[in-house]
Amino acid sequence: MSLESLLLHHEIDQINARYAAALDERRFDDWPEFFVEDGHYIVQARENFDRGLPLALIALESRGMMKDRVYGITQTIYHGPYYTRHVISPAQVLAQDGDTVTAQSHYAVFRTKPGSVSEVYNVGRYIDTLLRVDGALKLQSRRCVYDTEMVLNSLIYPV
């Protein structure tokens, strides 16, 4: 692996580490900032993705929509509280074309409700397109394709 490739992989891994920390520390306002202004965030069942069916669980098409989601999860969607814990695998760079990088990593999100055990909540992979803007990589698109055939009741916070 070339040094350049090593640094690129490390850079994406660091983005994922910060991404996981922001969500698990409930700094939801920081979450849209990982994306470019017209970035897409999609959470989609693997069943739909593999079959080319377009429906997603969450499909946001701009940072504005992501802010609307954050408002929803913090102000309007009533739900039982829970912690999340993200574990994200090292990234695999799939392609690079100028300032655009496509990459994939695997993730597991655990859920812990008050007074209860930790559960495997959502398991899948991130399929990412990243764009270098002013020297830093931002997500043009993050598609979370999850294996989990049943959502454990509801999915409120981003994964």
Binding site: V43, A45, E47, N48, D50, R51, G52, L53, P54, L55, A56, L57, I58, A59, L60, E61, S62, R63, G64, M65, K67, D68, Y71, G72, Q75, T76, I77, Y78, H79, G80, E149, M150, V151, L152, N153, S154, L155, I156
Partner: protein, 452 residues
């Protein structure tokens, strides 16, 4: 039906107080499976568009029994009368294995026949047993000359050993099945009050178009299955629990609404028309979920475009038209059919014990939708489903409800009940939504057929 065990007895008259044991008692639940899901009721199993080609199948559920919905071969002469969809139980007639599996390879599951891997009993797509190994035994040569070892008894008849076949009815591409020979025809089962609201969506004045499958969302909700039926028969909560609905006027106590039921009170349609949102003091005062200053950063989430089929001749006021923006149709016991502005879906209730059910959302559109309309339906799907702005919290409050019922049942007395008396204790249809009449009506039917 066995004589009722001395289960818990329904407390008092009427159906406005639903005892907690209706949600927590395992014996009551078993009777629900026998009477409602496996008895004289039509249960939703899927959409015909999910299995477009001969041999396509999908595993689905009637109650806790897994069934296979499959598209069979149909002779040309029968095509006018036979939609070709069969529903058979996924249980081998030999040793009872639930043998049929989904492909999980990114394709619609497809097969020429169903073969149980254990002993290779082979069934036609309609569930008939076609063949089995060693039926006529195995030829051998022994000291006495040629003979046959084993084989099935002489009176074994393939015809008597097929998969369990359910009766099937297909209405507007919705597939229903029943285990009972005595269930009335589907259109009679749904009744003349409900049918116009199904026709409205699927038999449009501009001509019906085939459906397109947009995809699935699935969730497992730790609550009794009836709580989801109640949730969609409850027009009281959306303008309170769901901030989006009240703030953007999608569903609010002051809008023009109608509560429709079949003659038994088991099926219902909540019909309503969106108003412009904003503040009407009479309905927003004291409603803490109303947020006067709330706006969306990206208005595409609420990009609603009326469709021609929304307007129909008013079924209860001939000569007048009616243009609802939302119809929530509950078809007892297992289907909720949603039109919320441009978002269309079926929601299938699959019970798993008295305290849990799976909820399967199948979103669809029409084959003649423009790409923009398809995009709109997909975008509005953000409001619904397990993560939806106005649906995720339904699953959450159902969990809270079940927790509360279980807690009450733990005292061993089991005397508590819910209270559903908004709009009185009656079971009539109404021209407004400030009522729990649909819930009372469902339980009036439930306690009758359950004999509790």
């Amino acid at each position: 039906m066995n004589a009722p065990q001395p289960l818990s007895r329904w407390p008092g008259e009427g159906s406005s107080r639903v005892p907690f044991w209706a949600y927590t008692d395992a014996q009551v639940y078993q009777r629900e499976l026998d009477t409602l899901f496996y008895g004289k009721h039509w249960c939703y199993v899927g959409l015909a568009v999910e299995i477009p080609n001969v041999g396509d199948y999908r595993l689905t559920w009637v109650g806790e029994r897994q069934v296979i919905m499959v598209r069979d071969r149909v002779a040309p002469k029968d095509r006018a009368t036979d939609p070709g969809i069969r529903v058979v139980e996924n249980r081998c007639a030999h040793r009872g294995a639930r043998f049929c599996q989904s492909a999980m390879d990114g394709k619609v599951s497809n097969t020429r026949s169903f073969v149980c891997p254990y002993h290779q009993w082979t069934y036609k797509l309609n569930g008939d047993l076609a063949a089995l190994p060693f039926k006529d035994g195995v030829k051998a040569t022994g000291p006495e000359g040629d003979c046959v070892h084993g084989g099935m008894p002489a009176d074994f008849d393939l015809k008597n050993h097929g998969l369990t076949k359910l009766r099937v009815a297909v209405l507007h591409g919705l597939v229903f099945a029943t285990f009972s020979d005595d269930t009335e025809p589907l259109e009679d089962y749904l009744g003349p009050n409900v049918m116009p609201w199904l026709d409205r969506i699927f038999k449009r004045p501009e001509g019906s178009a085939p459906l397109t499958l947009l995809g699935y969302n699935r969730q497992r909700i730790p609550g009794n299955w009836k709580l989801m039926m109640e949730n969609i028969k409850d027009p009281y909560h959306p303008g309170l629990l769901h901030t989006w609905f009240v703030t953007f006027g999608l569903w609010r106590a002051d809008q023009k609404s109608r509560m429709v039921m079949d003659e038994h009170g088991r099926h219902a349609v909540m019909v309503s028309r969106r108003n412009d949102g904003g503040e009407n003091k009479a309905v927003t005062e004291g409603v803490t979920s109303f947020k006067a200053s709330m706006t969306v950063n990206d208005p595409r989430l609420l990009d609603v475009v009326p469709e021609p089929w929304w307007t129909i001749s008013d079924p209860s006021d001939p000569g007048q038209t009616i243009t609802p923006t939302v119809t929530m149709i509950t078809l007892f016991p297992s289907l909720i059919l949603q039109q919320q502005v441009n978002s269309l879906s079926t929601r299938h209730i699959v019970p798993r014990g008295n305290g849990e059910f799976d909820f399967v959302w199948t979103h669809f559109g029409f084959a003649d939708d423009t790409p923009e309309m398809t995009q709109r339906r997909l975008r509005q799907a953000n409001l619904f489903g397990p993560a939806g702005f106005v649906s995720a919290d339904d699953g959450e409050v159902i969990e809270f409800s079940q927790d509360g019922f279980q807690q009450w049942a733990s005292d061993g007395q089991d005397t508590g009940s819910t209270l559903c008396e908004l709009g009185g204790t009656g079971t009539e249809m109404t021209e407004h939504m400030v009522t729990e009449t649909l819930i009372r009506s469902m339980y009036a039917y439930w306690k009758k057929v359950m004999a509790v």
